[in-house]
Symmetry: C2
Subunit: 431 residues, 2 copies
């Protein structure tokens, strides 16, 4: 029996899930893998309030330094989130020759390159399966499963809160506000859901995915990010009648030496596998060469799912512990210097555009005229039925056009006297 | 740069795909992972006919012993298929302290336990990602990604030929024979497709999956296997009108200390993710605890997909080569002795049953009477419209019932004078 001693920093939702998993599955893991995980210490800043029963032989502290200094501890599990003091904990743990398991997307997205180098210098590894899609093994899939393939594109539903809200809006006709309130009620949104709703949570995750899939560390600042708060139910309905579903997608594509990466509400065909991912589920669709397309879906959030990813990391460490292996393909501090970012202005996409216009002769030619000036091709054009309303929705699907031209055209359209509100534009993809 | 020297046995479709992958992606693999694969020798029994151009510095032979004996070779890639002489090649390679990569499902399904022990004794590993779903990384997902979870059930579309044929029958209304001829034309079926059509290919793969997911080596003889040759287009149509799609599924479930495993045509709800997997694509749906359901799909067959799985195995070996790591969770020669197989007679499933009966009063009560005698509950009952035909189809969906009772009931029904042909029964699942 191989004994691996753990120190856990952060006893919140995921941390308590990890403890539960280790307790529930201890005999299974011993029998099947010959590995015994021993949780020696837990650090949490309000540890006294959180732990109301004794964990066998486990010491409790509010000082993470005690765990990092402890020579008996083989692996530090960091589950506090945020960059500080997580960075300090991880760096110090590595310097004390401990492996690190973390679910911290912000930390890996922001400082991955430095931390992987630190790990390398100390002959240790950082594992972070739970940082993206929780326990759904997207990180192992990219770094081990399809390793050697070229990733041409990836499209992910990687924020469960947004997917839950958009599903409610689509299926039940709710407004954004109503769906968000529901999500909070059912525990699918945090009390402050800002980072979910505004897309930043997905953006951190996308930065990690781009590094693993395309071999480039990118800054979250270079990822164009739009949240879902501005999505109107009307547009979901119009899109549905065109055979399209709306999802918050994290998208990355490689074009030769350029990479584009963005997070925004996206219309996709209803019959695409991503379109049927509902509620808090997560999924990712990866276009690779030569393997072809891979699709992976599951519960990408939640206490036990995240705990499952941490356990997977721990077992992968444990199998090699005691050897001199450097087995973590997810830790290569590589950066393909000759890849550069394509910024949002130059990214080509198709758009769904809705304009509320006064219904009188000549309006349509004014609208199409402006799009034509900017060389934006129109693929389809619908003027919705109306009952003598003063304004009617004009719905257009464009051909692929550069973001910058579309933005200029929308500004010009907004200024037309016949256009009665700010035009709505939602990008479309057909993975 | 770490140099890994390879010997390839078998230069067929997959073997030539591996050579192409190594050539096309050599500089990528060198740059990104610091690993240089050097293919030193290829063995194939008709090597002269197959290789019409020189592979740089690579020797060709018809004698596999030459590769196994060569002290320069680190890894033997076995791609000839079948148990003999593959078994001898693999065992001898391990004894000469070489790692082995194989795509040989029959070998691993039949002799996995012995081979893993042999590998363990020699401090080497056997990797076999391509043996199931080719390059779609189901083996890494089960052994590393969701490791530590309990797998309650798995449902796989793991034979591309059968899925192509059933898709053609469903979408185009073809007969089985017509769809099979099409599959051969397009290269989706081999000239002798027996092992695909009769379900055995999927059965070998399922035996491997059950070992990895549930920790038990099972014999393919204990997997109830039915092929797709008897599927009639009529039943596909009737099922569709009931909201069901037909797929050849490989199914395994764990009930306490019992495992059931079977391969057969299966009706599933049209809106299930497995139901939209069309053509030669493969997919697997895994029910786990506590992570929840995982769904993985992709091109589970074909030259470059299988080659991709081999390359993934090679890179996973290469990262640890030179260390004393025993990193392959897929090589644990464990067997949970207290698990036993539930044999087909005792397996409970719902059934779709079609009976061609004479349309006269009293017939339905005779049919339902027999089902009642065998305690088979009926969930729905449809007698299809007819135009004064002498016989009409009677379609029933049953409640879950043990196989044995259903078989006895069908035999009794067949003997009724009013029943004009052998009743059709297709199992249903709702994963």
């Amino acid at each position: 029996m191989k004994k691996i001693t753990l120190g856990l920093v952060g006893f919140g939702t995921v941390g308590s899930g990890v403890v539960k998993f280790l307790q529930d599955r201890r005999s299974f893991i011993r029998d099947r893998f010959g590995i015994d995980f021993f949780l020696k210490s837990i650090c949490d800043r309000s540890i006294d309030k959180k732990i109301n029963k004794t964990i066998e032989k486990c010491s409790l502290t509010t000082q993470w330094e005690e765990l990092v200094k402890d020579p008996m501890i083989d692996v530090i599990v960091e589950l506090i989130g945020g960059v500080n003091p997580a960075k300090e904990i991880v760096v110090n743990a590595l310097r004390k020759k401990k492996h690190v398991v973390t679910a911290n997307k912000e930390l890996i997205a922001s400082l991955g390159q430095k931390l992987f180098e630190e790990a390398h210098q100390n002959g240790r590894n950082i594992y972070y399966e739970s940082s993206v899609m929780a326990g759904v093994p997207i990180i192992r899939t990219l770094t081990e499963g399809i390793v050697g393939n070229r990733v041409k594109g990836l499209y992910g539903i990687i924020n469960g809160t947004c997917n839950y809200i958009l599903t409610e809006m689509t299926d039940k006709g709710y407004s954004f506000e109503h769906a968000l309130a529901d999500a909070k009620n059912y525990g699918y949104a945090e009390s402050d859901p800002t980072l979910d709703i505004n897309g930043m949570d997905a953006t951190y995750k996308l930065a990690i995915l781009v590094n693993l899939a395309m071999g480039k560390f990118i800054s979250v600042k270079d990822i164009h990010t739009e949240g879902i708060a501005h999505i109107a139910h009307d547009d979901i309905e119009h899109a549905e009648s065109l055979g399209l579903n709306i999802k918050l997608l994290a998208i990355a594509k490689q074009h030769g030496q350029e990479i584009e990466a963005r997070v925004h509400p996206t219309l996709i065909p209803k019959d695409h596998p991503l379109a049927i991912i509902d509620g808090v589920d997560n999924a990712i669709f990866v276009e690779t060469d030569p393997l072809g397309d891979i699709f992976l879906a599951g519960q990408g959030a939640g206490k036990m799912s995240a705990a499952s990813g941490v356990i997977s990391d721990l077992l992968n460490i444990a199998v090699n512990e005691g050897s001199d292996a450097r087995s973590n393909l997810a830790n290569l501090a590589h950066d393909t210097a000759d890849l550069r970012m394509r910024m949002i202005d130059d990214i080509m996409t198709k758009f769904y555009i809705r304009i509320m216009a006064i219904d009188k002769p000549g309006v349509l030619s004014q609208i199409t005229g402006i799009l034509g000036q900017h060389e934006i091709g129109i693929n389809s054009f619908t003027q919705k039925a109306h009952n003598r309303a003063s304004t009617v929705p004009v719905i257009m699907l464009t051909e692929p056009a550069p973001e910058k031209k579309v933005r200029l055209a929308l500004e010009q359209l907004h200024k037309l006297p016949v256009v009665k509100s700010k035009p709505v534009a939602i990008r479309m993809e057909n993975p």
